[in-house]
């Protein structure tokens, strides 16, 4: 299996990496122990193993179920519903690995011998920071801006870390699980 060979290659080069306990299904998934090893690993993947294509940079907020306050519910009665549907907060589920962290997820591919590999990096919810990949992959520029916009994770060394999708006036970062929507002038 090329999957396992490549994983073994990477693990041999970077022994501090470990296989992820909950991998992305069907793809080799590695977990980075700390933020410092992000840039060396990605550079190695790109330069030595031919992973010249950064598919995706995204993040997951592991802080429990999503807060219903992040959604805008109209006060007026819905004709088909007695009460707004998501008014009750979702209950935490057993077996879900809730914790106080964001997980950054990177997906890289290569064109020759097509293979996709996932890297994960946990950053704490207080002061979420990670190194920016924008110097290695230009595509990380906008994707990191998006992650910054929606999660509020800061990327050190990013050339232009601004909001990209949401309004400048939006308070908070919408994809955080504890995001509570503040009523703005458009909601009235």
């Amino acid at each position: 299996m090329t999957n396992e060979r490549v994983t073994a290659q990477i693990l041999a080069q970077f022994p501090q990496l470990e296989k992820d306990p909950s991998p992305v299904k069907d793809y080799p998934t590695l977990r980075l122990p700390d933020a410092a090893s992000l840039l060396p690993v990605i550079s190695h993947l790109k330069d030595s193993l031919g992973f010249s294509y950064l598919d995706m940079v995204t993040a997951v907020d592991w802080k429990g179920p999503v807060d219903p306050a992040g959604y805008v519910r109209e006060e007026r009665a819905h004709p088909f519903q007695a009460k707004p549907a998501a008014a009750a907060a979702a209950k935490p589920l057993p077996g879900a690995p809730y914790r106080d962290a964001f997980t950054l997820v990177y997906a890289l591919s290569r064109f020759a011998n097509p293979l996709k590999i996932f890297l994960k990096l946990d950053v704490p919810r207080e002061q979420p920071r990670a190194a920016s990949l924008a110097r290695i992959f230009r595509t990380a520029d906008w994707q990191e801006r998006e992650v910054f916009d929606l999660f509020g994770i800061f990327f050190d060394g990013h050339p232009d870390l601004r909001r990209i999708l949401t309004l400048e006036s939006l308070q908070g970062h919408p994809l955080r699980k504890d995001y509570a929507h503040a009523e703005d002038r458009f909601d009235r």
Binding site: S22, K25, D55, M56, T166, P174
Partner: protein, 375 residues
């Protein structure tokens, strides 16, 4: 006579002009805004400003059940909703560990290829308008309406189908649909030649697009371009070949590539891809397997905690869906790797040094859909 020497170019006092392209502009294909700084006709700075169609779909997915999320996925890339459905359903199926039956897979392939034709037809038409030829738009939409009819026969909708479901497809096709599709394909093949004569090989069109907005293969990969935009620069990366889903390995087709990566190549890659789609469709219809169209999937989809990623070759590129489940009825996190978003990010670089008129040609050739860019 004035004997003073003519002022050299550096002494001439010139001023830069800031032009606001969009959000309402006939050729931004939606609500993209690009702040252009131009000097004469030459662009010296370009700042894409997106988010005018940001609807928070990823956030909404967290309170919708998996079945309802398919509805939202329709509205991501509204020009090719079928492939969006497919990407989401594949990711959800991976989470659940179910596989679609053979017939459903064949139908999915058929729908996705029809969708690719429909989507590329929109590009063909609107790109003609960008370059100034209005008529190809009408021709392309005439053919697209026939695809819409075919979709309407199976799903009842023209644009947002919600046809591909977790574990299969919503409805079966019958002999009439198959006959209709064949009729369409027979009609469509000569039309492709017609487009080539009308637009692709028109000298003015070639003059406007050849050598304009060249993207090298390295740059394309660096910026994460995918789909025809990437393949026009050289790399033959196609998710249908690299990681065949839904049994794409069974069907004969070529991965279309071009060399130079200019606007014409990007445009013509799509025209040639339509021919390949016709080939795949013919193969699918020739060997449509029997059997069920929907696997056994519980009414309320509650996958075990885990993560999955599925990517398909959408009309605009490599469309991926990343799903995280916490064991609940809603996705814990849904992320869409939107090809248009990444294709658009190269804009700020390739616009530089181009003319104002070329900027429109480049923007059109990238074939972005703002619904997918902004999500």
């Amino acid at each position: 006579m004035n004997t003073a020497p003519a002022p050299s170019r550096s002494e001439l006092k010139t001023d830069q002009l800031f032009v606001n392209l969009g959000p309402q502009h006939p050729s931004t294909h939606g609500v993209l805004r690009v702040g252009l700084t131009i000097e004469g006709e030459i662009i010296v700075k370009a700042e894409p400003d997106i988010g005018y169609l940001h609807r928070g779909i990823e956030k909404l997915c967290e309170t919708r059940s998996y079945g309802q999320c398919i509805v939202l996925s329709d509205r991501l890339d509204y020009c090719s909703a079928m492939t969006n459905n497919l990407a989401f359903c594949l990711a959800a199926e991976k989470l659940l560990g179910v596989h679609a039956p053979q017939r459903a897979d064949a139908l999915r392939v058929a729908m996705c290829e029809l969708q690719r034709i429909a989507s590329h037809l929109i590009l063909l038409g609107t790109y003609g308008i960008d370059i100034g030829a209005f008529t190809p738009f009408l021709y392309a939409f005439r053919e697209r309406e026939m695809v819409m009819d075919l979709f309407e026969m199976v799903s009842g909708a023209r644009l947002t189908y919600n046809y591909i479901r977790i574990g299969g497809v919503r409805a079966d096709v019958d002999a009439q649909w198959v006959a209709r599709t064949r009729e369409f394909l027979e009609y469509f093949k000569p039309r492709l030649d017609e487009y080539d004569t009308l637009l692709s090989y028109n000298p003015i069109f070639i003059d406007r697009t050849r050598g304009v907005g060249v993207i090298s293969a390295e740059k394309a990969a660096d910026y994460g371009l995918s789909g025809p935009n990437l393949r026009a620069s050289g790399p033959a990366y196609d998710a249908r070949r690299a990681e065949p889903h839904c049994g794409y390995e069974k069907y004969p087709f070529d991965v279309i590539t071009a060399e130079s990566g200019d606007c014409w190549d990007r445009y013509h890659c799509r025209v040639r891809e339509m021919r390949q789609s016709v080939r795949i469709l013919e193969a699918v219809l020739d060997g449509l397997p029997g059997g069920e169209i929907l696997a056994k999937v519980p009414k309320i989809v509650k996958p075990a905690p885990g993560e999955s990623y599925a990517h398909v070759e959408g009309a605009r590129g490599d469309l991926g869906v990343y799903l995280v489940s916490d064991g609940g009825p809603n996705p814990f996190r849904a992320h869409v790797r939107a090809p248009s978003f990444l294709n658009l990010s190269i804009l700020q670089e390739i616009f530089l040094g181009q003319r104002m008129a070329d900027a429109i040609a480049i923007l059109g050739s990238l074939d972005i859909v703002l619904g997918e860019v902004d999500r």
